[in-house]
């Protein structure tokens, strides 16, 4: 067993971790905001149709095709190249991030929809009766209940987005998987290097699992038999 090789490989792969985390966290933040907007849109008939079509398209196609569509496909349009966004859409980083955000929003909006449906009507009515505005009801009643309900499903989505960031290595970004691929083409020690990368992702996902279990406990201790 070549111990030095593993230690060196880990050090090299960990250099990609900041980019992986950066993409993952920003994609989750952007995706959640967009998902919330999609759910609010569902209040009107046209908005509902638009949101449904969006979810249908982004959940029905592979993320890889969405990344390539944005990175290679959009550049084919003259008006995109002349627009204000071109300096961003030319960069693989922004294209990858955009694809991750759009993809995450589709999945998160379905999770959030399930959560919103589980909010008891009585709770919302009680808020309205006691004189809360629509926004206050959303902020203080609907969202807290919905988010608590959606949390277990959402933690799966967090893990899945962290895993999905590996796909941006296909458009030359050097996050953990990108570095691993480059190292493999230099040394041809595929098994060792990819296993090192796998360990890093595994550690991340275990961390998320633990964290979400802790948050769930904190948010509703009575479900776990703890007296607050």
């Amino acid at each position: 067993m070549d111990f030095d090789f593993f230690a060196g490989m880990f050090a090299q792969l960990l250099m990609g971790l900041p980019l992986t985390l950066n993409l993952g966290i920003l994609a989750l933040l952007g995706g959640f905001s967009l998902a919330l907007a999609l759910n609010l849109m569902r209040a009107t008939r046209i908005g509902n149709a638009v949101a449904s079509a969006y979810v249908f398209v982004f959940r029905g196609t592979p993320l890889l095709i969405q990344i390539f569509m944005i990175y290679y496909g959009l550049a084919g349009f003259g008006f995109v190249r002349q627009s204000f966004f071109w300096p961003f859409l030319r960069e693989p980083y922004w294209c990858g991030l955009l694809a991750l955000i759009l993809n995450d929003a589709a999945y998160t909006s379905e999770i959030l929809r399930g959560g919103l449906r589980s909010v008891p009507k009585g709770a919302v009515e009680a808020g309205r009766v006691s004189g809360m505005t629509r926004f206050t009801v959303l902020r203080r009643i609907t969202l807290p209940i919905a988010i608590r309900q959606a949390l277990p499903a959402y933690s799966n989505e967090v893990i899945s987005i962290l895993k999905s960031t590996a796909l941006v290595s296909t458009i030359t970004l050097m996050e953990v998987t990108g570095i691993a691929r480059a190292a493999v083409s230099e040394t041809w020690r595929a098994v060792e290097i990819f296993l090192c990368a796998a360990v890093i992702y595994l550690a991340l996902s275990l961390l998320v699992t633990r964290l979400s279990a802790w948050v769930e406990r904190r948010l509703s201790p009575w479900q776990f038999g703890v007296t607050p």
Binding site: F68, M69, G73, G76, T165, A166, L167, A190, A198, S205
Partner: protein, 239 residues
């Protein structure tokens, strides 16, 4: 400017036939991987439900690993690593090289193993949703284990399992796009090649997206029928 639609048609310089063939390949890889995952997933679920302590722990570790590692990494590992292993074994046996492992086999195995982890969770959940009393009643009335499974457990577990399995199938289709990194000519790969050759990136990636949407939508209909069938004899539904 993107938009020469004859390029995706079936004409002399259209890519229609190639795309249709690639779509079938996507279906072929996905179906093989799904059944690979179903077999292994059933064994894992069985180990977790009825196994002894080491078996249960082993199954648990398997699920944790395959749900925590990116799919593309597993495919790389099988494709590049598989070649490495095959070469090592071949050289040790004294066979003449060079050695290689096909993209289809490594992709199918990789996606099958990933899917097995999620499918086992669906199956385990379905088994646990079967009321314990019915199983005891079956045992008391003298059913063998196989009869018990066929007549009591399977029909009841099916109700919970079918929608979950439908979701797993949908993610297998989407994961199959990742097999393109091994050079296997399925939809994603074919679309990339066509886009590169014609420089019509938008058109061909859109066409690829439509192929995936057709496959996912049609199979969704199929699973809905299966769900209806699984609900026979239940209050809300069934034909």
């Amino acid at each position: 400017m993107p938009g020469d639609l004859t390029l995706i048609g079936f004409g002399p310089d259209g890519w229609g036939l190639a795309l249709a063939r690639a779509g079938l390949m996507t279906l072929y890889v996905s179906v093989s991987a799904f059944f690979c995952g179903l077999m292994l997933g059933t064994l894992i679920a069985w180990a977790r439900v009825a196994g002894n302590w080491p078996l249960r722990k082993l199954a648990e570790i398997y699920v944790t690993i395959f749900r925590g590692v990116p799919d593309i990494l597993v495919i790389y590992l099988f494709y590049f690593g598989g070649r490495q292993v095959v070469t090592a074994v071949g050289t040790a046996l004294g066979l003449p090289g060079p050695f290689d492992i096909s993209g289809f086999v490594s992709g199918m195995l990789a996606i099958g193993l990933i899917s097995a982890a999620s499918q086992s969770e669906v199956l385990r959940g379905a088994y646990q949703a079967v009321p314990k009393g019915t199983i005891e009643a079956g045992r008391v009335s003298g059913m063998t284990r196989f009869t018990l499974f066929r007549r009591i457990i399977a029909p009841q577990a099916m109700v919970t399992a079918v929608p979950g399995m439908g979701n797993q199938w949908q993610s297998v289709i989407k994961e199959s796009a990742l097999v393109s990194v091994t050079g296997l000519v399925e939809t994603m790969r074919q679309v990339s090649v066509a886009a590169g050759t014609t420089q019509e990136h938008f058109l061909f990636y859109a066409a690829g997206g439509v192929i995936y949407l057709i496959i996912t939508t049609l199979s969704d209909q199929f699973f809905r029928l299966a769900e209806k069938r699984s609900l026979r004899g239940h209050e809300q539904g069934g034909v």
